[in-house]
């Protein structure tokens, strides 16, 4: 094998599976539903995303699920821009789950912005063209003589105008233009895109209005809690459902059998009550007995010991990336740098615990109110589980109290469907306790790496070897435990050997914000910092050497549309900007030190510098983070964009400092926020963000700012103490 690019079938499939298998890789976006001519006086639907009422109210459909990433505000901004709407007249409504009408609806992979940028512009421009066509017909003038101003069509010569509301019903009868024929706005003329606009739902949120999935209230609704084994892979032997039924407030209790797919439904017992607190309390009466099989012996310590054994054993089971002659590079190296890195399992813990509401209707339809990042995938899973066609499942998309990748998996949707189908006509709201959430997540995979670099007599890094120990997730098509063979810097190494061993496990794993990258950035950027240190330079200098002479990779047709390949110029630009912002290279005084980290993920380039010190008790204190990011030529909503970056940085610092999920006896040891301690206000650093604009379409911001902050922090700690952090979370006893 001479080239590094041998992606496994499973990782190639990962994007389609991320959406729950609900759509194909090359899913096309329906720009418009055929416009329906409106009744006089009624709102007219011009495209699937734009409806205009006679009173000039413009309703724009928020296409993708809102998890706090701001997409319910930002995608309609794009539509409104090309529609030339008056933003004050815009109302946003959340879409129903409907692949045929709206195209792929998902919140994941920072996909929403790159995937929808052009279709949302086109749907807005389509509606605008139809409004102009309507005015041309009404006034008997050529289309070319007309233009628009916010909310109205204007005849350029005479200045006469008609509002969108006046024209909408006629516009709905106009032919839908070919998307290719549309003229889109020049970026310089944007009035709405680029404006800092507050979250569309924020006024409701500050007033405490019902808006999240768990706020769903239906007449006659009952509440369900679900008891399942804390040991992954276990099956249910018995449970005392009668004892649970005898508890106060309990309406029913029954055993639910898993469907054989742990990503959907595992064995458990449903307890139903008039109030969730009563249902949850009654779980203690169940005294379930589980068959844990072989899995109860599994532990984090066991995995770590096995990983070390495999790495010490030399040759790994599988080579997944190879180029040049790594053995030769090592044999002729003037210096060899080697180190072991590892990182733990992590949980997602969004603030709104998992929940879902379902009603088995008399007409055989399962109607659901689902906080899901992949509602189309959830709909498909529920239909398959129930053995009904997809038309028999309706999924209303609710706002979510956070996602972070947890709600890409829809196990709670299948779980509540399994309960609600036993209670036709009664709406059921399933809620998980925080303990359920921490103990039965789809975890960020732990991993172990033994890295080796060869350096020649001139101090140039000539090769990289990584012996990676990860997990075999069976046939799971989306495998966040895999490492792509073109991970930076592997793709630019003349000599490369990437090999891996896989451990068997029943621990469920999934995508946590910036999947793969959130771990690999720490490993690769920390190790490169070691190589830089060993060769008497700093990490930014080493990165510049590594990309020296590298050409931009070509644009390919990816999941989200045309996707530019890795561009070394963008790496250079963000690196330069972040180091300038932080005065990198100048001496740092007062017991503080700086560290640098860079990463490219989800199409975004981020370079970050972290300033740290240690308290007298060796507590890590982060003072400043300087961040330069390149996500293309346009920030759609500066408010939301900055919020994502600030949040991602604090999230990453929190992971590095204090988060780990540990497995003991086949189950998760942590249970709630006392032993899974999320960042709190006092640890918030000053965060300075600047955008580096490049000539690329805008891409997503939910994820790419997170990965580099972790190595920037650990590299800063090395600069401060001379002690290298090679395992997360950071063990401060290193600095004692």
């Amino acid at each position: 094998m001479s080239e590094a690019t041998t992606l496994s079938r499973r990782s190639l499939l990962k994007v389609s599976a991320l959406a729950g298998g609900g759509f194909a890789l090359s899913a096309t976006m329906p720009m418009v539903a055929r416009a329906v001519s409106a009744e006089a006086g009624a709102p007219a639907e011009l495209t699937a995303f734009v409806t205009i009422a006679p009173d000039n109210t413009i309703t724009i459909i928020g296409k993708n699920p809102e998890i706090g990433q701001g997409i319910k505000t930002s995608l309609p901004m794009i539509v409104a821009e090309e529609l030339d709407a008056d933003w004050d007249q815009v109302k946003i409504e959340m879409a129903e789950t409907n692949m045929a009408k709206y195209g792929p609806q998902l919140a994941g992979g920072s996909f929403s912005t790159p995937m929808n940028w052009m279709p949302m512009r086109q749907t807005g421009a389509t509606a605008r063209a139809m409004l102009i066509a309507a005015a041309a017909q009404k006034w008997g003038v050529p289309v070319a003589s007309l233009g628009t101003e916010p909310g109205k069509v204007v005849e350029k010569a005479s200045g006469r105008s008609a509002t969108y509301g006046e024209l909408a019903s006629l516009a709905a009868t106009m032919p839908v233009p070919d998307p290719e024929s549309l003229t889109l706005k020049d970026q310089a003329d944007f009035r709405i895109i680029g404006r800092a606009i507050g979250g569309i739902d924020s006024p409701k949120i500050v007033r405490g209005e019902p808006i999240f999935g768990v706020d769903t209230q239906l007449p006659g609704m009952v509440y369900a809690a679900y008891e399942r084994s804390p040991v992954f892979g276990a099956t249910l032997k018995t449970a005392d459902v009668e004892a649970a039924k005898a508890q106060p407030g309990v309406i029913d209790a029954f055993i639910v059998r898993g469907n054989g797919n742990p990503e959907e439904l595992v064995d458990g017992v449903a307890v139903i009550a008039s109030n969730w607190w009563l249902a949850n309390r009654a779980r203690s009466a169940l005294k379930p007995e589980w068959d844990n099989g072989e899995w109860a012996s599994h532990s984090t310590a066991g995995y770590a010991a096995k990983a070390k054994e495999l790495m010490d054993g030399g040759q790994a089971a599988e080579v997944f990336g190879e180029r040049g002659d790594m053995a030769g590079a090592l044999a002729s190296a003037a210096k060899v740098v080697t180190a072991d890195y590892s990182y733990p399992f992590l949980a997602h813990v969004p603030m709104e615990p998992m929940n879902c509401t379902a009603l088995m209707r008399d007409d055989g339809v399962m109607e659901m109110w689902a906080p899901s990042q992949t509602p189309q995938g959830g709909l498909a899973s529920v239909a398959e589980y129930l053995g009904v066609p997809p038309e028999k499942v309706i999924v209303h998309i609710t706002r979510m109290g956070g996602g972070f990748g947890r709600r890409l998996n829809n196990d709670y949707m299948v779980q509540v469907a399994a309960i609600a189908k036993e209670m036709p006509g009664t709406p059921v709201q399933l809620i998980w306790s925080r303990e359920d959430d921490v103990k039965t997540d789809f975890y960020r995979p732990a991993g172990w790496h033994r890295l080796t670099a060869s350096v020649d007599s001139e101090g140039k890094m000539t090769g990289l070897k990584d012996h990676f120990v990860t997990f075999d997730l069976g046939e799971s098509p989306f495998n966040p435990a895999l490492m792509a063979p073109d991970t930076f810097p592997a793709k630019l190494m003349d000599n490369l050997l990437l090999e891996q061993d896989m451990l068997r496990t029943a621990i469920p794993m999934g995508a946590l914000r910036a999947p793969n990258s959130n771990a690999l950035a720490f490993v690769t950027q920390s190790f490169l910092d070691e190589v830089a240190h060993e060769t008497g330079k700093d990490l930014p200098t080493l990165l510049m050497e590594i990309v020296e002479g590298a050409e931009p990779e070509p644009t390919t047709m990816g999941f989200t549309g045309p996707t530019p390949g890795f561009n070394p110029g963008r790496l250079r630009a963000v690196t330069r900007k972040a180091t300038e912002m932080a005065d990198w290279g100048k001496p740092v005084t007062g017991g503080h030190a700086l560290g640098f980290g860079y990463y490219w993920s989800h199409q975004g380039y981020f370079a970050e510098v972290v300033e740290v010190s240690l308290s007298d008790s060796n507590k890590v204190q982060v003072h400043n983070v300087w961040c330069a990011g390149d996500v293309g030529n346009q920030i759609i909503n500066p408010f939301g964009a900055l919020n994502q970056v600030e949040g991602a940085i604090i999230d990453g610092i929190g992971q590095a400092l204090q988060l780990a999920v540990e497995i003991e006896g086949g189950a998760v040891k942590q249970s709630n926020f006392h032993n899974y301690p999320l960042p709190r206000m006092p640890m918030t650093p000053q965060i300075h963000v600047e955008w580096v604009k490049s000539d690329n379409s805008p891409t997503g911001l939910g994820e790419p700012a997170l990965p580099p902050v972790i190595p920037a922090l650990t590299n800063a700690l090395f600069a401060l103490t001379g002690k290298r952090v090679r395992s997360l979370p950071i063990d401060t006893s290193l600095f004692a």
């Binding site: 507050g198 006024p203 109030n275 603030m351 109290g401 972070f404 600030e646």
Partner: protein, 157 residues
């Protein structure tokens, strides 16, 4: 046996066991879902309400322990000047991402400013550290509180 509780200046009869936490009575007995469930053990602050003006965690407050004390929730926040000012500052600063914890954040912030109109940076940290924001909007929460507190300072001059 019904329990009588004063919530947002209204007397409410709740037919629930005395050991039921106030949170679950608010959300599912009274249909007031502004107060949020986050952890159930008083560690995250999403369920924060005021009890005689003090910020308390309603997930850990049994109905039977309330007695004559007055409960106030996020649904009532706009009735106070400070609460309303904070709500507006939250919007002006575009504080939130997912927004789920923000009712609790606002209740804690209101209790803080009601007892200390011009808190220092450290005092804000201390008063707010019981409230987790998983999206980590801390910088903006702090700015919004400081904004209202500065206005207060100016008004007093």
């Amino acid at each position: 046996m019904a329990i009588t509780v004063t919530i947002n200046n209204e007397t409410r009869e709740i037919d629930a066991p005395g050991d039921m936490p106030l949170l679950w009575a608010l959300r599912q007995e009274l249909g007031m879902v502004g107060t949020k469930f986050g952890c159930g053990i008083g560690m995250c602050g999403a369920c924060t309400v005021h009890l005689d003006g003090q910020a308390v965690r309603s997930c850990s407050l049994p109905l039977s322990a309330i007695g004559d004390k007055k409960v106030s929730t996020v649904e009532h926040l706009a009735q106070s000047e400070v609460g309303q000012a904070l709500q507006q500052a939250w919007l002006d600063e575009d504080v939130m991402q997912c927004g789920y914890c923000q009712a609790g954040q606002l209740m804690s912030a209101t209790a803080l400013l009601n007892s200390n109109a011009t808190p220092s940076d450290d005092e804000i940290d201390a008063a707010m550290q019981g409230n987790i924001c998983r999206c980590a909007c801390y910088k903006r929460i702090k700015t919004a509180i400081a904004q209202v507190s500065r206005n207060e300072e100016t008004a007093n001059v």
